[in-house]
């Protein structure tokens, strides 16, 4: 499963499921979180996914952003406009992350 998370304009964004049947038994799901130039937020700021889901963050902003797990689980490099970063969540739990360039931008991935 792949989950894409855009860095998006607040209200606009909802989790986008891009279903694709892979060769493997389990279908892949992607959730997208966006960030906009105006309100500096991950959208959706919180997503709930099944274990084994890949979450992809896409930067739709003119400003660079990063995705940094405060538990040290993952850390992207600076994402320029339209660049993306993915991480596969294998274990259940609640994962908080933020943008190291704009640390007031925070988000959560809940893995069931």
């Amino acid at each position: 499963m792949n989950l894409k998370i855009f860095f998006a304009a607040g209200i606009l964004a909802a989790a986008l499921c891009v279903g694709s049947d892979g060769a493997a038994a389990a279908p892949a799901v992607e959730t997208i979180i966006q960030v906009s130039a105006k309100n500096f937020m991950f959208a959706p700021a919180s997503v709930t996914v099944k274990a084994g889901t890949t979450v992809t963050w896409v930067n739709l902003d003119d400003e660079p952003h990063t995705v940094f797990s405060d538990a040290g689980l993952f850390r992207s490099s600076a994402l320029d406009t339209q660049e993306r970063f993915s991480f596969k969540f294998d274990k259940a739990g609640t994962y908080h992350y933020l943008c190291t360039i704009h640390p007031r931008m925070v988000g959560t991935v809940v893995v069931e």
Partner: protein
Amino acid sequence: MTDDSLDSPSRRKALGCLAYGGAGTLFVLAGGVFTPLDLAAAAADAERTARLGRPLFVQLSDTHIGFNKDANPDVNATLTRAIDLVNAMPQAPALLIHTGDITHLSRPAEFDLAQQLLSRINAGEMHTVPGEHDTSDAAVSEYFSRFGKASNNKGYYSFDHAGVHFIALVNVLQFKPGGLGTLGSDQLEWVEDDLKGRSASTPIVVFAHMPLWSVYEPWGWGTGDAPQLMSYLRRFGSVTVLNGHIHQIAQKVEGNVTFHTARSTAYPQPAAGVGEGPGPLKVPADQLARVLGISSVSVVKHPRSLALADRTLA
């Protein structure tokens, strides 16, 4: 101070009238008091200018090499202009201080280009602190592989020059909710040790990337644990605290401590609280050079006094 000192009350009053002139503003700092002086007036008064002495250091900030959006499609050109401005100074500054965001995306090619451009500057040794844009690579290694030597890769360090004690601090590596900068307990402990036993008459210059005072907390323009740092600095007679990050001049005097933020050489940002948030501010191309610039600090006659000047690129 003697009667020709730039911070005498009468002169201060006279100079106050000259603040914010066209070419830029010179700030004279003596005993913790900032006095603004128009740069053009300084240039026209050779005697007064001579008293400013050799520029101690020049501060560059927020060069953002790699930035290529609308607010400034050519940050290399504006940095080059800033360097030309420094190279045209009658006397070369003894030091160059870069208060961070050297690069925009922490990419190796951006650091390489920044170093290549900065190598042209006619100033003494360069001292740097990282901005959050310089530590945004996943491994946080590009900045430190180039500039980490001065600090054993800690990022913070101190040195002495011309009787002035300089302290370089890092407030972009620990993240707190709300987005304020953080120094952290290890670094604060180090500062406390570093200052222990130093004479209160030693002029202190502290520099970091994010403001070490609360400029505007809703936008993260401050450092959460800076009050503890200030408690170590308060006993000193002359403390100058320099930052970048907000791409505009803001200043405050608190006792003997003067806080000053520098302009960027790349692009301006909105004034605190104006608009929806911080970020590159697009101004008409013919006005860009007026909102970019550099700062310089000179020793004024007596080593206790420092003069701080801001110049735009226009």
